[in-house]
Every structure is written in structure tokens, then in C-alpha cells.
């Protein structure tokens, strides 16, 4: 596990968490009341594509926090565009497993103290120019978005 960011960023992160905590306090303790509370948090959007550029729609996603590589903290499916959004709640290396019909990959995404992807992170090695452009576009557009590419062999048959 790695920790990214300076002490200042760490302090900002703590302040942010404190703000979230403040925002999350119930405004009043009402007996038998149902409460729906909204809060904002830094989200990370994963764009999962096959190496052909085709989105991995409805692929199985598991997200592992830096402190527990065994138990996923988030699970779900990518949407029709191959996207999946989750909230990294701590700095460190977040592992994202994307699988579909017998093939997949695990990407390690370093998250800095304020929840953004580490500026040193690149995941475009070995990609075509088109794919590199898509990665850059995703990061520029989303700030915290990232595009991941996966091999396409045997995508329609699950292995045991």
C-alpha cells in the first residue's frame, strides 16, 4: 500500500471528511421518522473497454480498498457504456477487477489524499493512438475518471 499526497493534502482530506460528517448529522432526532440524507463525495469513474475500444457493458466489477484486498467494498455491473462509478474513501492503491465471460483484468488505481487519481498514474502503456486519446479524454473530461482496456478473447463464454 502506498500513501500519496503531502501533509497539507492529508489535512485537506481530513477537513473534507469532517465536512461530510457535519453534513451527515441528522438535523433533528425524530422518533419513527424516515430520513434520506444526501452528501457529496469524490467519485471515481471507471471506463472499461475491450482492447478494440468496445465498451465492456454489464461486466462484473469488484472494487477492493487499499486496506483489504480480499473483500470487495463495492460490487456491481458496468453500465451499457462500460462505466462504473465508486467513491474511494481513503488514499492508497484501489484495485478494480472487471470481468466478463471468462476474461478480465485487475487494475490498480492510486488515489491521493483528496480522492483524485494520482497525477503520476498512467494506464495508457501499450495502447493504440486512438485508445490513448480516449484515456486522455476521459481524464480531462472527468478529472477523476480513468479508462481501462481489457483483452477481448472469448468474451461470450464463462470459464469455471
Amino acid at each position: 500500500m502506498k500513501l500519496f499526497g503531502s501533509a497539507l493534502r492529508s489535512s485537506l482530506y481530513q477537513l473534507g471528511m469532517m465536512a461530510i460528517a457535519i453534513g451527515g448529522l441528522p438535523m433533528a432526532a425524530l422518533a419513527h421518522g424516515a430520513h434520506i440524507q444526501a452528501r457529496t463525495a469524490t467519485a471515481m469513474e471507471i471506463q472499461a473497454n475491450y482492447d478494440s475500444g468496445e465498451p465492456m457493458a454489464e461486466a462484473t466489477v469488484q472494487v477492493f480498498a487499499p486496506d483489504d484486498p480480499q473483500t470487495p467494498v463495492y460490487t456491481g455491473l458496468t453500465d451499457a457504456d462500460g462505466k462504473f462509478v465508486f467513491v474511494p474513501t481513503a488514499p492508497g492503491d484501489w484495485e478494480v477487477s472487471v470481468r466478463q465471460a471468462g476474461h478480465g483484468d485487475i487494475a490498480v488505481v492510486p488515489v491521493e489524499s483528496e480522492g483524485a487519481i494520482a497525477s503520476t498514474f498512467t494506464n495508457d502503456a501499450g495502447l493504440t493512438l486512438l485508445q490513448r486519446g480516449m484515456v486522455a479524454g476521459a481524464v480531462t473530461w472527468g478529472c477523476v475518471g480513468t479508462a481501462l482496456y481489457f483483452g477481448q478473447r472469448g468474451k461470450n463464454r464463462a470459464h469455471s
Binding site: 473534507g16 463525495a41 471468462g102 483483452g151 470459464h159
Partner: protein, 292 residues
């Protein structure tokens, strides 16, 4: 004064997440085989945080254990699928090695099993566990990269062959008993295991697995997948092999395959072999293909 300071700090704390999120696109609400030489495993570096038992397994998946229908309609069932592994290496890498991007794993810890081991991927019944290759004592830690080489077996039932497949193929009342003997030298370098569970996470005094997974559907195709799926468009299938069978028997080695298949079919076969090795569902980088 104290109240003003408190109000100011509260306002900053409340506003900060919004400032930090200014460029965020979205926000969410909560929501043993036949060991063929003396054991020679060795490990590098002393175990700083204790040791555990690291078990290496080989898996031919249900395609080998249960049989399957090829892309061209042959029901293939295996009696034996011998594969010979050597120089098996488990790595703790930092940064994590990604086989999709290639390169060399940057290891902080390495465990090497240098002996050559032949296993039968078809051993056991339909629900058999992946086949044990070797267990070794290893330093605790995250083994997130894995490599192995494949070479002709020095002895045993598959002597002289890297991959020995024996079984039957049946289609429309015809049954062919086949033996395919392949002797290329192969090498795979892989990242983290991808599957239903994580592997290679070794705690002190505990056990962990790593798995060399072989996808034989890449060779024969998959009758359950669409004809235009990559798994089938890139596969050899069994029709070309049935065409060179001697009656109801096919017993071929690489030389016979090269001589009897068309050049295109042989090249397809040679192109598929480097893609057989995986770590679960995760791809590996093939770094060597030598036709012995």
C-alpha cells in the same frame, strides 16, 4: 469571538468538499504430480514478516475436466492433458505488474520453483480441484505476479512433449481417438489472478494459492459461443484435425501436424499456443515460443 471562529471553521469545513469536487464528473450518494527432478525450490530474501505455505496449481478448467463442444461441432473429451512446467516464479511486485502492458515484474520478493513438473490437467472427475503442482514455504506478502515456462517433459508419460492431449472427438456418429503431442517451449509472465476469489495473498503461518490456468477453448473454439466471436474466429477447431486422421485414429506430433495441416492451419495452431496460459481470467504476456 469564539463563536465567530467556530462559525468560520464550520463554514470552511462544510464548503471544502464542494471545492474539492469541482472537477468531478459525477458524485454518488451512499450507495504432485510427477516431479521429475529433485526438488530445488529456493526463495530469495529472508522472511521479514514470517512465512506461510504457497501452493502452485494448474487448471484446465471445465473444458478439460468435463469436455466441451468445439466451434465446429465436435464433442471433445479428454483422458489426459499433460503439461510440463518449469521455472515457476511467484513475485511480490511494486508497482503491481500488468501483463497487458508487458515488461518485467519489479519484484520486492521472489519465490522460484526451479524443478520441472508434469501434471495431468484431466486428472480426477468432472468436479476435480485444480491440479497440485508444488507447495513451498514462502515469505508472507502479496504475490501479485506469476510466471512459468513450459518445456518438453524430460521423462514420464508425456516424455519429449510440452503438451500431450489424449481423448476422443465425436460428431454425427463418427468418433476419433486422438493423441496430439506438442513440444514447443513457451513462457508466460502474468499479473494478479483474476477470478471469483483473490489468490496469492499469503499471511504468516497461513496458506495461499497461485494458479496457472490453461484456456483450451482458444485452440478448439467454443460451440456455445457465436461463430463470429473472437474465441471462434481465432480458433483452429477440430475439423482440420479430423481431416488428417487415419480412419478413426489421430496420433500426431508437431512434425506431423506441420506436414499434414495446411500452412495456414499450422500457423493458426502456432499462433494459439502462446495464448493458452492465463492466471484465472487474467491474460499473460507470452515471452517465448520456440518450436522444439
Amino acid at each position: 469571538m469564539l463563536m465567530n471562529r467556530l462559525l468560520t471553521q464550520t463554514a470552511i469545513a462544510a464548503a471544502l468538499p464542494t471545492l474539492l469536487l469541482a472537477c468531478s464528473p459525477q458524485a454518488t450518494t451512499d450507495t504432485d504430480p510427477n516431479a521429475q527432478s529433485d526438488p530445488a525450490e529456493d526463495t530469495t530474501a529472508a522472511a521479514a514478516d514470517g512465512e506461510g505455505e504457497l501452493t502452485i496449481r494448474a487448471n484446465g478448467e471445465d473444458f478439460v475436466r468435463q469436455g466441451f463442444v468445439t466451434k465446429d461441432g465436435w464433442q471433445v473429451d479428454f483422458d489426459h492433458v499433460y503439461v510440463t512446467l518449469t521455472d515457476i516464479t511467484a513475485y511480490q511486485t511494486d508497482p503491481p505488474f500488468d501483463a497487458e502492458t508487458g515488461g518485467v515484474p519489479k519484484a520486492t520478493e521472489t519465490v522460484v520453483i526451479s524443478e520441472t513438473v508434469t501434471v495431468d490437467l484431466a486428472e480426477g472427475d468432472d468436479s476435480a480441484e485444480p491440479i497440485l503442482v508444488k507447495s513451498v514455504e514462502a515469505p508472507a506478502g502479496r504475490y501479485n505476479a506469476f510466471s512459468w515456462q513450459m518445456m518438453p517433459a524430460p521423462e514420464g508419460p508425456a516424455a519429449g512433449q510440452t503438451i500431450w492431449m489424449q481423448g476422443t472427438a465425436a460428431k454425427e456418429g463418427e468418433t476419433i481417438a486422438f493423441v496430439m503431442k506438442l513440444d514447443p517451449e513457451l513462457a508466460y509472465v502474468c499479473g494478479d489472478f483474476v477470478g471469483d476469489e483473490r489468490k496469492g495473498i499469503l499471511e504468516a503461518s497461513e496458506t495461499a494459492d497461485l494458479e496457472a490456468t490453461f484456456h483450451f477453448d482458444h485452440l478448439f473454439g467454443d460451440g456455445e459461443a457465436p461463430a463470429d466471436d473472437d474465441i471462434n474466429t481465432g480458433a483452429l477447431g477440430f475439423d482440420p484435425l479430423a481431416a488428417i486422421a487415419n480412419g478413426n485414429t489421430l496420433d500426431v506430433d508437431m512434425a506431423a501436424l506441420e506436414a499434414q495441416l495446411t500452412p495456414e492451419e499450422y500457423q493458426t495452431l502456432m499462433g494459439i499456443l502462446p495464448s493458452l496460459g492465463h492466471v484465472g481470467e487474467g491474460h499473460c504476456e507470452e515471452t517465448q515460443l520456440v518450436d522444439s
